[in-house]
């Protein structure tokens, strides 16, 4: 990877961190409502995996901690922030909010609030890719907690039997909401669990984007070659609570401190400094430009955008322009019996 790509990746991760922190501020100002699940600490995974995918062509789907996956997949940051603000210009026209970012123009097929629900949806997207005979794949990002749903087992089985081109990315941040993995899960190494379905898998450090990219390259090559699904587990940690109301009382301060030291931005920034790709001063300038972009362009766009019109409440429930050939009206008296 050349120096300009390395700098771009570091800037992207810094951008994602500051985007999440800025949305936290807006939440505290009550400009963002509902639930808000932040990705801080896990940036290397979405950034690294999708760096190796064909964004815009490959399908990407995830759970409710979805802002960064949508951004890296290609959803415009203005629209993602506007969605958090519930605005008509948002990714989902203000109807979805933080947990339901969609941008089908880049094949980002959504964030979902039902834990484990994206497993079968991802397999279905992959089934469509296979059926159409394109070289597209589906990439499903979910946490370790999702693996205790029935959909995990059902979908792994079908994806394997039907050799679907789907990459399952498990972001193991050790906690299913507030319950630690060893208290909820019989096999804590998640990659081992898919052996039951004959799916190849591996486990890697999720804090180092170079490791993530190397692992993703191999996994994506496997899936794209038509050999069927692959399950890749990354060990990571979310720096904030599960959602906004979470005090993290279930985690020890010592554990948090150890993982904070393994911050993906710090790991990558230090490496690039050591390799003389950039200096501390360059990183500071990067931080400054990111903050300016977020404040002056992205947040401003969200704040200045209009709310959806209440008159449009019923819009998008069903197809708003249905074909009368399929829908009706029904001609009376044409048929008896």
């Amino acid at each position: 990877m050349n120096a300009s790509d390395q700098k771009r990746l570091l800037r992207e991760m810094i951008f994602y961190r500051r985007f999440e922190e800025r949305s936290f501020e807006a939440y505290m100002e009550r400009k963002i409502g509902g639930f808000l699940h932040l990705y801080s600490g896990q940036e290397a995974i979405a950034t690294g995996v999708l760096e190796r995918a064909h964004c815009g062509s490959d399908y990407v789907i995830t759970g409710y901690r979805d802002h960064v996956h949508a951004l890296k997949a290609g959803a415009p940051a203005r629209e993602v922030m506007a969605e958090l603000y519930g605005k008509e210009t948002g990714s989902s026209r203000g109807r979805g909010g933080s947990m339901h970012i969609f941008d089908p123009t880049v094949n980002f097929m959504g964030g979902y609030a039902l834990v484990g629900q994206p497993f079968p949806l991802a397999a279905g997207l992959a089934l469509a890719c296979k059926h159409k005979g394109t070289d597209q794949i589906a990439i499903c990002f979910l946490g370790d907690g999702a693996n205790n749903q029935g959909t995990f087992h059902e979908t792994m089985n079908m994806a394997s039997v039907w050799k679907l081109p789907v990459l399952f990315v498990c972001e193991n941040n050790l906690y299913a909401i507030g319950t630690r993995i060893d208290r909820s899960t019989a096999v804590t190494d998640q990659y081992k669990r898919v052996a039951a379905y004959n799916i190849p898998s591996s486990q890697h450090d999720g804090q180092d984007i170079d490791i993530v990219m190397a692992a993703a390259t191999d996994a994506i090559a496997h899936v794209r070659s038509g050999k069927g699904p692959y399950f890749i587990e990354f060990l990571t940690y979310r720096q904030r609570g599960h959602s906004m109301s979470d005090s993290n009382a279930y985690r020890s301060k010592e554990e948090e401190r150890l993982w904070m030291e393994r911050d993906p931005l710090k790991i990558y920034g230090d490496r690039l400094k050591k390799a003389k790709v950039l200096t501390e001063k360059d990183i500071a300038a990067m931080e400054k430009s990111v903050l300016e972009e977020i404040e002056n362009d992205i947040v401003r766009f969200a704040e200045e955008s209009p709310d959806p019109r209440v008159e449009d409440l019923n819009k998008y429930c069903l197809d708003d322009q249905p074909d009368p050939r399929w829908i009706g009206p029904l001609a009376q008296g044409e048929h008896h019996g």
Binding site: R95, L114, F119, L125, A128, C317, D319
Partner: protein
């Protein structure tokens, strides 16, 4: 015009839609090599192959979810669930996903799936195979719910459902698969909306859907012999409900019976009576009567099962009650 069985009508719709569009697939338990529990997909595996007639494992929630995911990427899956009772396992993907994805994506994604399933009481299949559950789907925004009462609608509504861009739930009935009826030889589409006046009359409106339309028709025959002209209205679609056709019929007859095979509580009849009260309360000459199942899980014993489920004589008795003849 040929007379064919209900299952043959479904099979023909599958065949035509599979031939028309390569993006159409069918998926479900035993639908391929085995040909389908009710033969609705028989022979199609041999014709279209394993990639389009997909035998699934017994994993209702996730194979339904796979169909939904595929539909988001341009496929047109026809998902069969062997019994509506098993659809309870797929409620997460049907109600939390398929019904909501268009809305929560601001209209940017859609799920044009068809989910077909028999939902009725057949023959001593006992409590876990006899639930009807139409009311659960009809109360869910973002879905279309239809209940073809015979071969023509079974054929033409399935075809429309495949073409339609919304998720459509088609509720069939175990007791109707061998029912015969005329279906045109030429390709025909039947609309997914609109109640139908199946038999015109002036004295009382008998409202049914799915199998209960046949109970209404049988009751109407008996009423005719008694000099009563009953109008029989097939709701056809439980979502959305055709309020206009219901109103027009009630304004004509002023008396209503609603026959549902399901339990009454929070059910189809309750909804229809609400519609009537909202649309044309002052047109009523008598309080509407619901004919419905006993408020119990369906028992196995034949006599008890018959007692739990309404029949044509129950509809007749209800009609006589609203007519003031008892």
């Amino acid at each position: 015009m040929a007379e064919i069985a209900y299952w043959e009508a479904i099979r023909r719709a599958h065949d035509e839609e599979l031939a028309h569009d390569r993006m159409v697939i069918a998926m479900g338990e035993d639908i391929g090599v085995a040909g389908g529990t009710y033969k609705a997909t028989s022979g199609l595996y041999q014709k279209y192959g394993a990639d389009r007639i997909i035998d699934t494992p017994i994993s209702e929630n996730s194979y339904t979810g796979i169909g939904i995911g595929a539909s988001m990427a341009g496929m047109r899956p026809i998902i069969e669930i062997m019994s509506i009772n098993f659809a309870l396992l797929a409620l997460d993907t049907l109600i939390n996903a398929a019904a909501k994805i268009r809305y929560m994506s601001g209209g940017r994604a859609s799920c044009p799936i068809v989910m077909r399933t028999p939902g009725g009481t057949a023959h001593q299949l006992a409590a876990q195979h006899s639930a009807r559950l139409a009311r659960m789907f009809m109360s869910t925004p973002g879905l279309r719910v239809v209940t073809p009462r015979g071969p023509l609608d079974a054929y033409g509504m399935l075809k429309s459902a495949v073409r339609c861009n919304d998720p459509v739930i088609i509720i069939e009935h175990e007791s109707m698969y061998n029912m015969r009826g005329e279906v045109p030889d030429e390709e025909t589409f039947r609309p997914l909306e609109g109640a139908e006046i199946v038999r015109a009359g002036t004295d009382v409106t008998l409202i049914g859907y799915n199998y209960s339309v046949h109970l209404c028709l049988a009751a109407a025959d008996k009423l005719a012999a008694m000099g009563v002209a009953a109008e029989v209205l097939d709701l056809r679609a439980l979502r959305p409900i055709d309020r206009d056709t219901i109103r027009r019929s009630v304004e004509k007859t002023h008396k209503v019976v609603i026959a549902e095979e399901d339990e009454a509580t929070v059910g189809v009849g309750a909804e229809i009576i609400s519609v009537i009260i909202e649309e044309c309360f002052f047109a009523l000459d008598a309080q509407p009567v619901r004919v419905h199942a006993a408020d119990v899980p369906v028992p196995y014993n034949r006599q008890m099962e018959k007692a739990a489920i309404p029949n044509a004589d129950d509809v007749l008795a209800a009609a006589l009650k609203v007519l003031g003849r008892v």
